[in-house]
């Protein structure tokens, strides 16, 4: 027996490796660097790894369209686009995360205990969040470029596990935060089990875990269709859970609300990119030929997701929950991109993901700013009159909402248009019509928030907008700028996506 040493193609894997390296360094910093200097060092390391990884992604875009790690990872245009998007979102999120007011000073201490108070008073800050973020980012980077079921599963867990922990680290309302972590973890693990079970069936159907092999088996069509279908179904459940599609959405409002807001923003944006990246790869390449088996299901799911998300969001009184339901609705819109199953749909999905991700981080960034003495205020009623007190913050938030609503001259509109036209082109007329109608419903609650901020007089409680730190300001500003730019001049990004958006497998 001869063992060939595996060819890993390090340069292609470099973005992931850099992030993992950064994460490990972060762990070491936790161990060896003094408390006082930790925050700045951690932030620098995290930021540096993210930027380096992004640079590497850009550098290797010419070398793309090949596989690495013996075919377990595929580095192609779409993969790099997803990685780039995730890294950009991570970079702007890390500024938010750096605003330590949002995190508990001592995760291990009991909520409300002396220990917690002392930690807070002593100015201890939670710096573990940086390595955790980097681990999650590494998983996310790997997820959409995985090229076999093992890698996919590992990546899924690598991105999920840190997020479960991060969800529980909120400084305020810690019980809720811990509850969010528990729910996220239990349900996430539950869905992972489904995913894994489905993966087993796919393997059983194709006799191989590599995507290329599964694809070949699907094209050949010799295997047992029931096994294939079960495999597709259960893998899909795992993925649909991650993107928050109905009926696998139930975790997201609770987790979005309970998690520290910067994490919510990061999770909402980056996880969606990663999960949809993987989903697009699987359904556009591996299972494209089995579309008669899965497309009808996806259409139904897309339709109920869009309607459910939009309708339930209307009656929300908490801004983070409202955004969570809005993100469910957006998952539905994005699913129409998956259903489209054509190149236009693919490009549109990438554009949509990027635009939505950036706007989401920006929006949650603004949520972190609205506070009273006991911390963040996410009760919408207390956002009343924000436009009067802080016109700029309110305007920026309104603009993000308009982008979510898909009003022209925002990035959201171009995304929606692109994704719906692609879906229509593929013949999914019903889905498009439902999409358009639920956009109308969705507009209702976005506008309600705008009304609240601008046209309702403030209650006299102490809700105020804190002066944002320079980093938060940067996050919001970048998000805003990108949202505007993508709305008015989407051509550069679209043109950039177009040649790259070709899966090699």
């Amino acid at each position: 027996m001869v063992f060939n040493s595996p060819t890993l193609s390090y340069s292609l894997l470099a973005p992931i490796l850099i992030i993992l390296g950064g994460a490990l360094i972060g762990v070491l910093i936790e161990a060896f660097v003094g408390k006082a200097r930790r925050p700045i060092v951690q932030l620098s390391v995290a930021l540096a790894s993210l930027v380096l990884a992004l640079i590497q992604v850009i550098r290797i875009r010419e070398l793309s369209s090949t596989t690495a790690a013996m075919g377990s990872v595929v580095i192609d245009g779409p993969g790099l686009l997803f990685q780039g998007a995730i890294l950009i979102i991570a970079i702007i999120s890390i500024f938010l995360i750096a605003d330590q007011d949002n995190f508990t000073s001592s995760a291990a201490a009991l909520p409300g205990s002396d220990e917690e108070r002392q930690a807070t008073q002593s100015g201890t800050v939670l710096t573990e969040i940086y390595p955790l973020t980097l681990f999650a980012v590494a998983g996310m980077l790997l997820f959409p470029v995985s090229s076999d079921l093992i890698t996919l599963f590992v990546a899924l867990e690598v991105l999920s596990l840190p997020l479960y922990l991060m969800a529980g680290l909120s400084r305020h309302r810690r019980l809720a935060s811990q509850e969010a972590a528990l729910k996220y973890f239990l349900l996430g693990a539950f869905s992972s089990a489904f995913f894994l079970f489905g993966a087993a069936y796919l393997y059983g159907y194709a006799g191989t875990v590599s995507f290329a092999g599964i694809h070949a088996a699907v094209v050949g069509g010799t295997g047992n269709d029931v096994i294939l279908l079960l495999g597709i179904a259960f893998v899909s459940i795992g993925l649909l859970f991650k993107v928050g599609a109905v009926p696998f959405h139930a975790w997201s409002p609770d987790v979005y609300q309970g998690a520290p807001t910067p994490i919510t923003g990061f999770m909402a944006a980056a996880t969606k990119v990663a999960a949809f990246g993987a989903m697009l790869r699987i359904f556009y390449t591996v299972l494209a030929e089995a579309q008669w088996q899965w497309r009808p299901f996806f259409m139904v799911i897309a339709i109920i997701t869009m309607i459910f998300g939009s309708l339930v969001a209307i009656s929300q009184r908490d801004v983070k929950r409202m955004l969570a339901y809005s993100s469910i609705a957006h998952a539905g819109f994005l699913l129409t991109g998956v259903i489209a199953l054509n190149k236009a749909g693919f490009e549109a999905s990438i554009y949509y993901l990027f635009a939505y991700g950036v706007a989401t981080v920006g929006a949650f960034g603004i949520v972190t700013l609205v506070r009273d003495s006991s911390g963040e205020v996410s009760d919408l009623n207390r956002w009343a009159g924000l436009g009067k007190r802080s016109p700029w913050v309110a305007s920026a938030f309104a603009f993000f909402l308009l982008a979510f609503a898909g009003i022209p001259l925002t990035s959201g509109f171009i995304g929606k248009f692109a994704i719906f036209s692609a879906a229509y082109e593929s013949g999914a007329t019903a889905v498009v019509i439902v999409g358009v109608l639920s956009s109308a419903i969705a507009a209702f609650f976005y506008i309600r928030v705008i009304v609240l901020m601008f046209f309702t007089d403030a209650t006299e409680d102490g809700t105020s907008v804190v002066i944002p730190s320079i980093l938060t300001r940067l996050t919001i500003f970048i998000s805003l700028a990108v949202t505007v730019a993508l709305g008015v001049f989407p051509a550069p990004l679209l043109d950039f996506i177009k040649p790259l958006a070709i899966f090699i497998r």
Binding site: D225, F234, A250
Partner: protein, 630 residues
């Protein structure tokens, strides 16, 4: 070119009006003078043009002046173009002539009114619009004047609109006129759709080639228009209320000129009505009904102006009747129109003079014995009275007699009915006008205590005197050698005498008419000279009298048929709009909110129910797969 002067007829009063309106209070000092001057100048131009026309041979008398292309869209081509022919010059002279006299009268009559300048502005505006009405060479141009006079009438009726009833009267006049305008609009539309033109000349040319049905439709629409403007049945109800305006207005607009526009319209449209017998029949029916209707109402009015208004309605009924008789009647309609213009305007001014002396009291029951205090008014009013009841040789005799005669000769049962109506109307006219004379000028004083009747100043009585002269001589002049009939022949098409067999010889007709008039006078004398007149209207009267006092229930009918159902409809629709249409809109919103709130309950907060949801979802998919693969 003399034709280039036509526009000045209109332009002068129009500009004067604009100046007066724009200048505001600054013009208070000289506003009335400018207004009068403008009207007089217009009369001067008209007179000059008239002499120019006389100098031309008959066939070249009509002249047009094209100003500019007004509306030109596709085949719809309307020029702003003026037509001065034998018919319109009659009106031009009447309007500017009587108009100028009334301007002069108003200088004095309105001298105490703070807004006299504005009054003259409106009068000038009216003159301009009325001239446009009669000078326009197409129905659309006419329409502009048509509504223009309606506007002026509205403004003048409501001149003292601080009094709510007056404001209401103005609105009522405008709205009812608009009903007529609806007819005119539709007539124009039908004409354009079927003949491709809206000019008089174009339609005259196309009419013979057009189906009778179409022409009848146009005719009926024009009749509605005429009825609205000329207070003919069933659109007559506004005229009585229109007396809310200052008396000179009643004289000029609601007696001499504007209200006769309907007669002008029918006469001008002779080429349509002559080819549409049904429409023509309707015209005479409307005329006949109105002449009786007005006369009946006139018998019970105590308000001097309303009595005169009812009389006006009735007299225009005569004109309409005549116009409806076709070529034989047009000239007489116009003749009566002109003579009526003199005597009725004169009487209205007389009434104004009386009111002027009586602290603006209009109730004749509070007059009496004014003959001695207002001799000139009495004489001028009396001459008008003699003219209207048709005593020879006063103007009304000639014109009305001709109409009665022509009506009787209309042939068959129709002729007899119409003739009888006209004769009966003459009797009623004699009755109510005598009643007016008696109540106002003779008998005992029934004045209020603070009344100090006196003769009006010269600026007021001079116009009355001139109009009185007109009432005396105009009929005679018009009929010398059938002057007016021949003059109008080129416009309204000649008619041959003896076309119809005469039912009765003219002299007999005149005899009957005079007899009936005498009967009317006698009854009035018996009722109001022999018996004392109370200064409040007696209450113990017959039901018929009560109904007549209520204008034959015209307002009640309008209210019952249009106003109240209209108000109910409005209320209903407002409710429908709020509850049903907007309700549906809000309902959709509420439904979204409601279903959102309902679906929200699925989010229980229990991990186990979430995982159950996932499990159910998975089970559903598996079930789906099972269904598919079976």
């Amino acid at each position: 070119m003399t034709s280039s002067l036509i526009v000045y007829l209109i332009a002068i009063p129009l500009f004067s009006s604009a100046i007066l309106l724009l200048a505001g209070r600054k013009a208070n000092k000289w506003g009335h003078l400018l207004g009068t001057l403008a009207s007089a100048s217009s009369f001067g131009v008209g007179a000059y043009l008239f002499t120019q026309m006389l100098a031309q041979p008959v066939e070249e008398r009509a002249m047009t002046q094209k100003l500019f292309t007004w509306i030109n869209v596709g085949s719809f081509n309307v020029d702003a173009s003026l037509l001065l022919d034998q018919l319109s010059i009659c009106f031009v002279l009447l309007i500017t002539g009587v108009g100028t006299l009334i301007h002069i009268y108003s200088i004095s009559y309105m001298s105490h009114d703070l807004d006299r300048r504005r009054f003259f502005a409106y009068l000038n505006l009216f003159i301009a619009a009325m001239l446009l009405l009669v000078l326009g060479d197409s129905y659309l141009n006419l329409y502009v004047g048509w509504e223009g006079v309606g506007l002026a009438s509205y403004l003048l009726i409501g001149f003292w609109n601080q009094k709510p009833t007056y404001a209401t009267a103005a609105k009522k006049a405008f709205v009812m006129n608009r009903v007529g305008d609806l007819g005119l609009s539709l007539a124009i539309m039908i004409a354009f759709a079927s003949m491709g033109t809206v000019s008089f000349a174009g339609i005259e040319e196309a009419a013979p080639k057009t189906s009778t049905t179409t022409l009848t439709a146009i005719g009926i629409m024009l009749l509605i228009a005429a009825a609205g403007k000329s207070a003919q049945f069933p659109l007559q109800a506004w005229l009585g209320d229109a007396m809310a305006g200052p008396t000179p207005v009643s004289a000029l607009i609601h007696a001499a000129t504007m209200v006769t526009a309907g007669v002008y319209l029918i006469t001008r449209s002779n080429f349509i009505f002559d080819a549409a017998p049904t429409a023509q029949l309707l015209v005479v029916i409307v005329g006949a009904i109105t002449l009786l209707f007005g006369a009946v109402i006139g018998t019970a009015k105590d308000d001097i102006k309303k009595a005169l208004a009812a009389s006006t309605m009735s007299q225009i009924g005569y004109m309409t009747l005549a116009a409806g008789l076709g070529p034989v009647g047009y000239a007489f309609a116009i003749m009566h129109l002109l003579t009526h213009g003199f005597f009725k305007a004169g009487m209205f001014l007389g009434a104004g003079s009386v009111m002027h002396g009586m602290n603006d009291e209009v109730n004749m029951r509070k007059y009496g014995a004014l003959r001695k205090f207002m001799p000139i008014t009495f004489i001028t009013f009396g001459l008008g009275y003699l003219a209207i009841i048709g005593v020879p040789p006063f103007a009304g005799f000639y014109s009305k007699d001709m109409i009665i005669e022509t009506a009787l000769n209309a042939g068959g049962i129709k002729g007899i009915l119409l003739g009888s109506a006209a004769l009966f109307g003459a009797g009623l006219t004699a009755f109510y006008m005598t009643r007016v004379m008696i109540l106002t000028f003779t008998g005992t004083k029934r004045w209020d205590d603070d009344a100090h009747p006196h003769e009006s100043p010269i600026l007021m009585w001079l116009p009355m005197a001139i109009l009185a002269i007109g009432s005396v001589v105009s009929g005679f002049l018009f009929t010398r050698g059938d002057a007016l009939v021949h003059w109008l022949e080129p416009v309204v098409a000649a008619h041959e005498h003896g076309e119809h067999s005469e039912l009765l010889p003219p002299i007999v007709v005149s005899g009957i008419a005079l007899t009936i008039v005498l009967i009317g006078i006698s009854i009035a004398v018996m009722m109001y000279v022999r018996r004392p007149v109370e200064n409040v209207a007696p209450e113990n009267v017959s039901a018929l009298t009560k109904i007549v006092r209520q204008d034959l229930l015209q307002d009640a009918a309008n209210e019952a048929i249009f106003m109240r159902p209209g108000q109910a409809l409005t209320k209903t629709l407002i409710a429908v709009d709020e509850k049903v249409i907007d309700g549906a809109v809000h309902g959709v919103g509420a439904m979204a909110i409601g279903s959102g709130a309902g679906l929200r309950k699925t989010q229980t907060g229990y991990v186990r129910s979430y995982s159950a949801l996932i499990l159910v979802g998975a089970a559903a998919i598996v079930l789906g797969i099972w269904v598919i693969t079976q």
